[in-house]
């Protein structure tokens, strides 16, 4: 059993939990994910690692309620336990392959949308620890829905965008990308985009306009998370890849987002997903 040592409600549908999982905490790297199971009846759910502390033996996850099982996770309280918490899974971020010298020259622009902000955090923090302060765009529908902004400000130059203009740039993250790059003339050499699939699709397209190579982190459906089931397959440059072992990060210019979105909704209308099934995130579409 894996105990929840702290819980924070970040917005009505989003919570952050620190989970005691020493083996995962000892091996976790930015970009990786875990598979959790709430209880004996629970589904195996992949969640991106948002932070980790090898000394305390804890791993931080941020979950948004989108269906029955994510709702069940968010109903857990401090002191409760996950039946299973396996990982770290997937390949770490490509940034980790760079040497210190190469890193210092990099100008990475992170683009985070909604619940995708938390998974950007470990990558931005890692860069900051290696002497680079990246730029991070965080987008949300309205300023009540921002998460991880304070944490992010400690490790990055943060640029906020809200659809309703309640804070920061008035518009979508794609508009803020245009603002920073075209109007303010800021220079970047690559873009890491994490958020809802639809937002990643358009942000990757926007980045391509500026000739920026992109990485996107996919949150596909999975069962085992170790390459066995193939539920997470995604077309990347016309080739089928498994998100769990080949990803979760892929070249945003090559991912077939329409297929990925269709596959992500495969069980949306399944009778077991007895939970408001039709709330599509519109924050960045």
């Amino acid at each position: 059993m894996f105990e929840i040592v702290s819980k924070r409600v970040l917005s009505p549908a989003i919570t952050e939990m620190k989970v005691h999982a020493p083996r995962v905490a000892a091996s976790a790297k930015p970009g990786q994910f875990v598979i959790v199971r709430v209880d004996e009846e629970g589904e195996r759910i992949p969640l991106t690692i948002c932070d980790y502390d090898p000394e305390a033996g804890t791993v931080t996850i941020v979950t948004q309620t989108v269906g029955y099982s994510s709702g069940k996770i968010n109903a857990l309280e401090k002191g409760d336990s996950f039946a299973d918490f396996a990982g770290p899974l997937g390949r770490p971020s490509d940034l980790l392959d760079l040497t210190e010298e190469e890193l210092k020259k990099r100008r990475v622009l992170f683009v985070a949308g909604g619940v995708g902000t938390a998974p950007v955090y470990p990558q931005a923090k890692w860069l900051h620890e290696h002497g680079v302060t990246p730029d991070v765009i965080i987008g949300a529908k309205t300023n009540d829905l921002f998460t991880y902004v304070e944490e992010m400000k400690k490790v990055a130059n943060v640029h906020l965008a809200t659809d309703d203009g309640s804070e920061g740039f008035h518009g979508m993250v794609t508009g803020l990308m245009e603002q920073l790059i075209e109007k303010e003339g800021r220079e970047f050499d690559s873009c890491v985009i994490i958020g809802p699939m639809i937002m990643m699709k358009f942000a990757a397209r926007q980045a391509a306009r500026y000739g920026l190579p992109t990485m996107v982190s996919l949150n596909a459906l999975m069962v085992d998370g170790t390459g066995m089931c193939g539920a997470c397959r995604v077309s990347v440059g016309g080739e089928t890849k498994f998100t769990c072992v080949d990803g979760p990060e892929f070249d945003g210019a090559l991912v077939d987002f329409d297929e990925a979105m269709r596959r992500q909704n495969m069980y949306r209308n399944h009778p077991k997903n007895h939970h408001e099934p039709d709330k599509e995130c519109k924050c960045n579409g």
Binding site: A86, G227, M228, T240, R263
Partner: protein
Amino acid sequence: MANRIPRVPVREQDPKVRATNFEEVCYGYDGDEAVAEAGRCLNCRNPRCVGACPVHVSIPEFIAKVAGGDFAGAAATIARDSSLPSVCGRVCPQESQCEGSCVLGIKQEPVAIGKLERFVGDWAIAHAGEAPAEKPARNGKRVAVVGSGPAGLACASDLAKAGYEVKIFEALHKVGGVLVYGIPEFRLPKEAIVAKEVEAVKRLGVEIETDVVIGRTMTVDDLLDHEGYDAVFVGSGAGLPRFMGIEGENLNGVFSANEFLTRANLMHAFDDKSDTPIIAGRKAVVVGGGNVAMDAVRTAKRLGAEAVIMYRRSEAELPARVEEVHHAKEEGVEFRMLTNPVRILADEAGWVKGLECVEMELGEPDESGRRSPRVKEGSEFTVDCDVVIMALGTSPNPLIKSTTKGLDTNRRGCIVADETGRTSREGVFAGGDAVTGAATVILAMGAGRKAARAIDEYLSAK
């Protein structure tokens, strides 16, 4: 004459009833039936069945004990060579192994060796509680076992008996590997059989930790260099599904047999209490002809779908156990032989709506001796369906290969090991599907036991 007695029939669940539930199909022999069937064995001087058994169980010897009512003795005889008789008695392809070479089979039906083995194994499980736990004295050396499938369980139990401190690391949340995620409940009961076999291994003092993915949570190098293990056995199986590479394979409603079976078997998706969903559709076509294909198609049938097996060769070439094919037909599965899909057709929403297929014909036998299928020109036709399940075989998971220094693998991604299980990396042994590619439970079990002997030799000499 003993050989005039017909084979004792085995009781089974009615096909119409069982096609709607997940309970075990075959009830197995009771004591009287087992004694009667055992009486048919001729106790040949040169028993061909023993030679045909991958682990050379002393078949006539255990059967003679069953015939004499000495079930404990029979269990002890089998235990010399096999640690999973309840499992192997249910899932071994007996018709191409022991029973296939039984002398009685020349003129009539062979002795039901598999059913007798199953009877003995189940008897031993039912009476295990009576024997006190015997934990052997420890020799102070530690071995890590990667994977809790048949190879890992067999290796761990032999090493524990030899005095080693053994810990099994399992990636999934349940113990048993393919026995729990792959083989369905209706063929191999999880609580009554698999869990009991696992308990028996634990009673020997073997520790098992789930949710540890070797290659990610820890590496083989970590186990040897930081966790204090003196040797590692890798029995990580062959879990990676293959697809055909045809158009439409990523449509909604196309699944690997691994995914479909894992949802049903490991996650109990067929049960309303389980949160995990599963989609069998209105009509499910399973592509392939092996045991996994039969398991998938019979699972789809039980979930209420019209269920079809599509195989590119003819029925004679089906690699599945004869019993599974027979059971599938009894349950109402449709068999479309000499047919191959070439394209999966989509509806407007991106879900499967059919399969474009071609008819096949068998050509001359190739080097392997099997007649190779070839497409009949102009034979294209469409099969209506809303679920397609690919059961085309699996290959080993590259996670361990890619994270272990100095561990050689071959072209197919299998770990290279000699016949004792020794790999290119000192202190690392391997066996089962991770070495051979997808094979059988009994071969994996046998490989685990051989590796246990090699590990014992290696560590004794150290």
